[in-house]
């Protein structure tokens, strides 16, 4: 199955996307591309259609126009089996974690393994425990139910489940929203570490300026119904658009920039 996936093509590419609900146009002629191995941050004002765009790229919603390509293949042309194989290459962390509440954390992580592999039970369990460890949860949490977890732990558990099948493309929907600054920073570091370990390509929808400065290679700005610019942060900051200016020149942004710059120098040391 894996052999069919073209690893040289960009993992995800959207061309000329048109999304509308009735007369209400959300995206028009939207082009967006994620290159292999990079962490892309997607920003945009509330109601600009970030979540809709993510759902479109995930295939939860078909756009009214345009094409979505995975690994160079047009999504509409894929056979059911190919689609399934590509789905296994994509992991998603939903905003609230979206864990199955009737199962323990370990069972949650084992769901994709059980469905798509023929691994023996014991190995599946041990792999699930490894994922639990990789996302920084204590081993005891394996047996807990989602209702026993805090918000940050739920996100980590959700991340562990999205990594269950070793995806190459990871979608994160506001991963650090609702976390305390320490937890958010730890989560950023975790994403960076996992990117190196598992060779991930990451798209994260975020409002967290600290995350943008700390870990994103490129930032895409969704404004005026399209991706106005998707480039390195410095370039995006120079972009001439009132919303972008306000977003990156606000007091919170400047504080985050200072902090992000500091941590980057530290990393360089």
């Amino acid at each position: 199955m894996k052999a069919q996936i073209n690893n040289d093509a960009p993992p995800m590419e959207a061309r000329g996307i048109l999304t509308q609900f009735g007369p209400n146009v959300i995206h028009e002629n939207l082009d967006f591309r994620i290159n292999r191995g990079e962490i892309v941050g997607l920003v945009g004002g509330s109601g600009s259609g970030k979540s809709v765009l993510m759902n479109t790229m995930l295939g939860l919603k078909e756009p009214e126009g345009g094409v979505v390509k995975y690994f160079g293949e047009n999504r509409r042309d894929l056979s059911f089996e190919d689609r399934q194989a590509i789905n296994n290459e994509i992991g998603v962390l939903f905003q609230g974690g979206a864990l199955f509440s009737s199962m323990t954390v370990r069972q949650n992580i084992m769901v994709p393994l059980r469905e798509h592999t023929d691994l023996p039970e014991e190995l599946m369990r041990e792999l699930a425990d490894m994922k639990i460890h990789m996302v920084g949860l204590p081993p005891e949490s394996a047996k807990l139910h989602p209702s026993d977890l805090s918000g940050g732990m739920k996100k980590r558990a959700g991340l562990a489940r999205s990594l269950a099948l070793d995806p190459s493309l990871l979608f994160l929907d506001e991963p650090t929203a609702g976390l305390d600054p320490i937890g958010a920073h730890a989560f950023d570091e975790l994403i960076l570490g996992l990117r190196d370990a598992m060779n991930l390509t990451v798209l994260m929808v975020t409002h967290d300026l600290d995350s943008l400065y700390a870990i994103c290679d490129r930032v895409a700005v969704l404004v005026d119904k399209r991706i106005a610019i998707a480039d390195k942060l410095e370039e995006v900051q120079k972009y001439d658009h009132p919303w972008v200016k306000e977003y990156f020149d606000g007091p919170r942004s400047r504080a985050a920039m200072a902090a992000g710059g500091k941590s980057k120098t530290k990393a360089a040391d």
Binding site: M1, K2, S101, S102, R106, L113, T117, D118, L119, P120, L123, R125, E126, L127, D129, M130, K131, I132, H133, M134, P139, E140, S141, A142, K143, H145, S147, L163, L165, D166, G193, D196, A197, M198, N199
Partner: protein
């Protein structure tokens, strides 16, 4: 010289398509080939499990030069080789691995195994479950009674200040519970009336007393079937909706928000539903009675017994007095109240999990149907004793 020595000490433990295990002095050399991913993890796991572990080795060296792909499951399987006696880790390093593979192996080596799930089934589990169920039953009864008490105190207070009742939501609920349910209640009741008529026609024809089927249809539909069918239908349709609506509100903390803002949950949610149900059940039951009798009449006319509508209603007036109609109708507001109270009570008992929403909805419908039938039986005894 050293080279010869080295060669002498080499001892190939096992070799296959995917890996070679070699012992070299105190070191275990692992040469991995091809894909180490979850697609072939099963076969790797099986063949690696068969490898005899050698106890004395203190170090593991991995050679990844011929590896094409490594994912977490592959790394984990390789890391398992590092375990010596009693799970003690050996020292390890990697030849010709990329940085990513290095990080992945590190993560895999550090991974701690959680405790496996314990299956403890004991013979006394049944007794425990029995005890738990009994306790839960007792608690359930107690809490329902407490809820009813609370409801009546709020209701009583509201009846003294009727302007405080949320009439808007009462009217909306009457439409939802009553008007929207009317067609299905009537259709069902029509069929029930027809079935009773057929049954009567068959049985009574053997006595040559077919005309008494009118009595049968009249008694059965007016006294019992129309009220019961309506109540059971409402229990399935509206009671479950109440539980699900209120339960979902509880899950999304809407109920908490209402309490904090100072809205009384009983006033805003329970009382309007109760009033709507009490108002609606007699009306629905009346409609059910009419369509049930109509169904019986149609069967009497066309189903072989040859009782014309004129004859049917003539006999109906002789045999059935207004009391039967009253007996059927008088219990319906109580059914409505039961349905509303149980639906709301179970909805408010929902906790955070999706499971509890499902469990509460099930309990709600079961309890409502049970209560309706039990109360109906009590009414039957009561009416028998006072002779109506």
């Amino acid at each position: 010289m050293t080279g010869t020595l080295l060669v002498c000490n080499l001892f190939v433990m096992s070799e296959n398509e995917q890996y070679t295990l070699t012992e070299q002095g105190q070191t275990l050399l692992v040469k991995a080939r091809g894909d180490w991913t979850f697609e072939n993890a099963k076969s790797l796991y099986e063949s690696l499990s068969d490898e005899p572990g050698s106890k004395e080795l203190t170090e593991v060296r991995y050679d990844f030069s011929e590896m094409t792909e490594l994912d977490t499951s592959g790394a984990y399987l390789l890391a398992r080789l590092m375990e010596g006696d009693a799970g003690k880790r050996r020292n390890w390093n990697i030849d010709q691995g990329t940085k990513g593979q290095m990080t992945l192996m590190k993560a895999a080596c550090e991974a701690l195994r959680g405790e496996p799930p314990v299956h403890t089934r004991q013979w006394y589990d049944t007794l425990i479950r029995l005890g738990v169920a009994t306790e839960r039953f007792g608690k359930e009864v107690w809490e329902t009674l407490a809820f009813i008490g609370h409801f009546f105190s709020v209701m009583g207070r509201l009846l003294l200040t009727p302007y405080k009742i949320r009439w808007k939501s009462v009217v909306a609920l009457i439409e939802e519970v009553g008007l929207d349910a009317a067609p299905i209640v009537m259709v069902l009741s029509f069929f029930i009336g027809a079935v009773i008529a057929y049954m009567g026609a068959n049985l009574l024809a053997s006595f040559g007393a077919s005309v008494f089927m009118v009595d049968l249809v009249g008694f059965a539909v007016l006294r019992e079937l129309a009220p019961i069918i309506t109540a059971i239908l409402l229990a399935g349709r509206s009671d479950s909706a109440f539980t699900a609506q209120i339960g979902a509100m509880k899950m999304r903390q809407e109920i908490d928000a209402m309490t904090v803002i100072g809205l009384n949950t009983y006033e805003t949610l329970v009382v309007p539903r109760a009033i709507a149900c009490v108002v609606v059940t007699p009306i629905l039951t009346f409609l059910a009675m009419m369509s049930g009798i109509f169904g019986g009449m149609l069967v009497a006319w066309t189903g072989g017994a040859d009782i014309s509508p004129v004859m049917f209603f003539g006999r109906f007036r002789e045999a059935i007095d207004l009391t039967q109609f009253g007996v059927g109708l008088i219990k319906t507001p109580i059914f409505g109240l039961i349905i509303a109270i149980i639906g709301c009570r179970q909805g408010l008992a929902v906790t955070g999990s999706v499971e509890s929403l499902g469990a509460r909805t099930t309990t709600s419908v079961v309890q409502a149907i049970f209560a309706v039938i039990a109360v109906d039986a009590m009414f039957a005894i009561l009416f028998y004793q006072i002779g109506v």
